[in-house]
Amino acid sequence: MLFGKEGHDDLVVRSARVIDPVEGIDELLDVRVDKGVIVDIGLNVSPNGHRVVEGRGLILAPAFVDPHVHLRTPGREDEETIASGTAAAAAGGFCAILAMPNTDPVVDSAAVLGSLIETARDEAEVPVGFLAAITKGQQGEELTEMAELADAGAAGFSDDGRPVVAPGLMRRALQYHGITGLRVAPHCEEPTLSRNGQMHEGPVSAELGFAGYPSVAESVMVERDLALARYEQQPIHLLHLSARESVEALSAAQAAGVLATGEATPHHLVLTDEAIRSLDANLKMNPPLRSADDRSALIDAVRDGTISVIATDHAPHAAHEKDVPFEEAPFGVTGLETAFAALNTYLVEPGVLTLPTVLERMSAGPARAYGLDVPRIAKGAPANLVLLDPTAPWRVGDGGFRSRSSNSWLLGETLRGKVRMTVAAGRIAYEAA
């Protein structure tokens, strides 16, 4: 399901604070990796002739998994490629990412999927999985050949960027989960309610004059899709939740036994619609930044596990397409290279979320939601490790990005928290200069 460059590196990380929320580890330890596999965790681990990385003052954690990335390939290689997007992921501490199928052409056939997988084997700095579309051309009319796409190596199914408007079609897609075992991940948006909407509908949109994209445009579709998943008794993963009502619906469905997971993005966890007063097109995304109350519901849900996945929704756009008035700009912001630092700076340091919670929601949570192997710091596990400096400050944009695009919602901000090294599937994928 995941494809990338192969590698089997040797390494010892000495005296880092090792945090693995899944394994219940939080202490100063050495970790040794032989040929890409964790072989020893303890004190005074013998280096075995390996390169030793000093971890004092640093945190070693299971590397991150981002289940929501736009690699823009095929079609917009000027904005991102598999090589550049996975390099950005490695720099962000990710050991695996999932790419969305809303490319040109759409990933809706085994042929398109196969060519992406082949490229990924040659170019991907970290393993990447490709979601295939739920409907042909993401037109919301005909199902893709889901069983064949599953056989060809799809990582899941989504029409991300667009809703599956017809409930009957969404139901069929969920029924196919019984055959493929691959997660169906809807983009929840009721298009007659979100119509022309540029930002969250509320006092800020009223004052600025932007057409409003109300939170109910998301939550009515969340409720519909949860009802369908419940009826079909199939699991479902809800992409980029933004509204309190969506979180409440997810929580109620989980309590009723629906196998539903949900994700939130760093930008929805950090910002509110007040930020749009700057009229900066790098704050335009779908779903939009919502109210302080919505943000607080998302944070609570991440804390209590109702939302088990933090996903960047990394959406690169060409500079000239964003350097226009807000309404003319496309939706989407980048996020791979800033995700940890943003969450660390704005949520962990002020004490809103704990570091282990953030680490878990960025790694084990997303892996489980899509049925991927959970990155672990355990003997015998493949090395999927991120070495973090939690206090190092840096200014977003200085030194450029590994992504081909720079439409970051944090451009110019000073964050604390740097990725020093990323090991993905046993291969050192990134080292800070």
């Binding site: 119509r195 009223a206 004052e207 004059g209 409003g212 009229l279 350097d323 008035p325 309404e327």
Partner: protein, 331 residues
């Protein structure tokens, strides 16, 4: 701390000189508004003394950059600049490079090569004036950006009310109609609230934006509330913004029956305003539009002197108080 006055042109390039713009009513303080209205009044008196042209802005260049059709605003700015002896150049989007797909940024950079002192811009999208301000060295005046702001309209409306009704503080103004699509309404709500007036919005719920009461106004759906207002401000039904199938109102006929401003719904002597262009027989009854209590033509005349005041103020005193600007520079 010593405060050093530095000539704008001597500031290092990394810290570009602070330019003043009029992009939103939110840029202004109450004192700024009072000063602008007083300046407008002195221009009005000088024009009455048959000095049609003042030498104040001789040698200055004003560019009118209009990406939307406009009669009264573009002509008003053009005449205002000419009355102050500025050189005026008007650029319209149709028949220009914009037709060939040129971006706003590139158009602005092109015009900036002529070193204009002021760029007056109207654009169908929110935030266009700010974008032009980022890439040019000119003072920017927003002549309407999407559904966001139309600050000179609000200033001319304040001027009209002050001169024809009385001091704005404590007045009750009812704004009737399509608030949702109206930049005029947004600028006026801010401006009237800033000057201490009470504002009530009246119209069908789909045309009253959710949450707008946070701007400091009240909301009503019953047209009868206009009976209690000192001024009834009628908004144009923006038919060109009502795409088929949007269903903001079931029909213009029903809108007019419920919310049309008719003589029967007004008290004798109640003043009526409209930013134009009017849809007679839709939002405003022709008998109201033509009555002596309608201030619609007065608004147009006010527009000229208020825009003269805005141009003058930007290029001389500036709407930002000198003290606060210095404080910013020092900080």
């Amino acid at each position: 701390m010593t405060v050093q006055l530095v000539r704008d042109d001597l500031l290092p390039p990394s810290d570009p000189p602070k330019r003043r713009h009029l992009i939103s009513i939110g840029d202004l303080t109450r004192d700024d508004v009072s000063r602008l209205l007083a300046t407008a009044h002195s221009f009005e008196r000088s024009l009455e003394r048959e000095m049609k042209k003042l030498p104040t802005l001789r040698g200055r260049t004003v560019v009118n950059l209009f990406f939307e059709s406009s009669t009264r605003t573009s002509s008003s700015f053009e005449l205002a600049a000419k009355r102050l002896s500025a050189d005026v150049m008007s650029v319209k989007s149709s028949g220009s490079s914009v037709d060939k797909g040129e971006s706003l940024k590139d158009t602005a950079l092109t015009l900036d090569a002529y070193d204009p002192d002021v760029i007056v811009i109207r654009h169908p999208h929110i935030g266009a004036p700010g974008l032009v301000a980022q890439v040019t060295g000119a003072h920017i005046v927003n002549a309407g950006d999407g559904m966001h702001q139309h600050p000179t309209q609000a200033l001319l409306d304040l001027y009209t009310i002050e001169r024809n009704v009385g001091p704005i503080e404590g007045l009750h103004v009812a704004i009737v109609g399509d608030v949702l699509h109206s930049r005029v309404a947004r600028s006026n709500i801010q401006a009237l609230a800033l000057m201490g007036a009470r504002v009530t919005l009246v119209g069908p719920p789909p045309l009253i934006p959710r949450g707008i009461e946070a701007m400091g106004c009240e909301i009503a759906t019953d047209i009868a509330v206009i009976g209690g207002a000192d001024v009834v401000y009628v908004l144009r039904m923006q038919r060109e913004r009502m795409e088929a199938g949007e269903n903001f109102v079931p029909s213009l006929r029903e809108y007019t029956a419920r919310w049309g401003v008719t003589p029967e719904r007004l008290l004798p002597g109640q003043k009526v305003m409209h930013p134009g262009p009017m849809n007679r027989g839709v939002e405003i009854d022709p008998r109201v539009a033509d009555s002596p209590d309608a201030l619609i033509e007065t608004q147009v005349r006010s527009g000229l002197v208020v825009r003269m005041a805005v141009l003058y103020d930007l290029l001389t005193h500036g709407p930002v108080e000198v003290k606060s600007e210095l404080a910013e520079e020092v900080a």
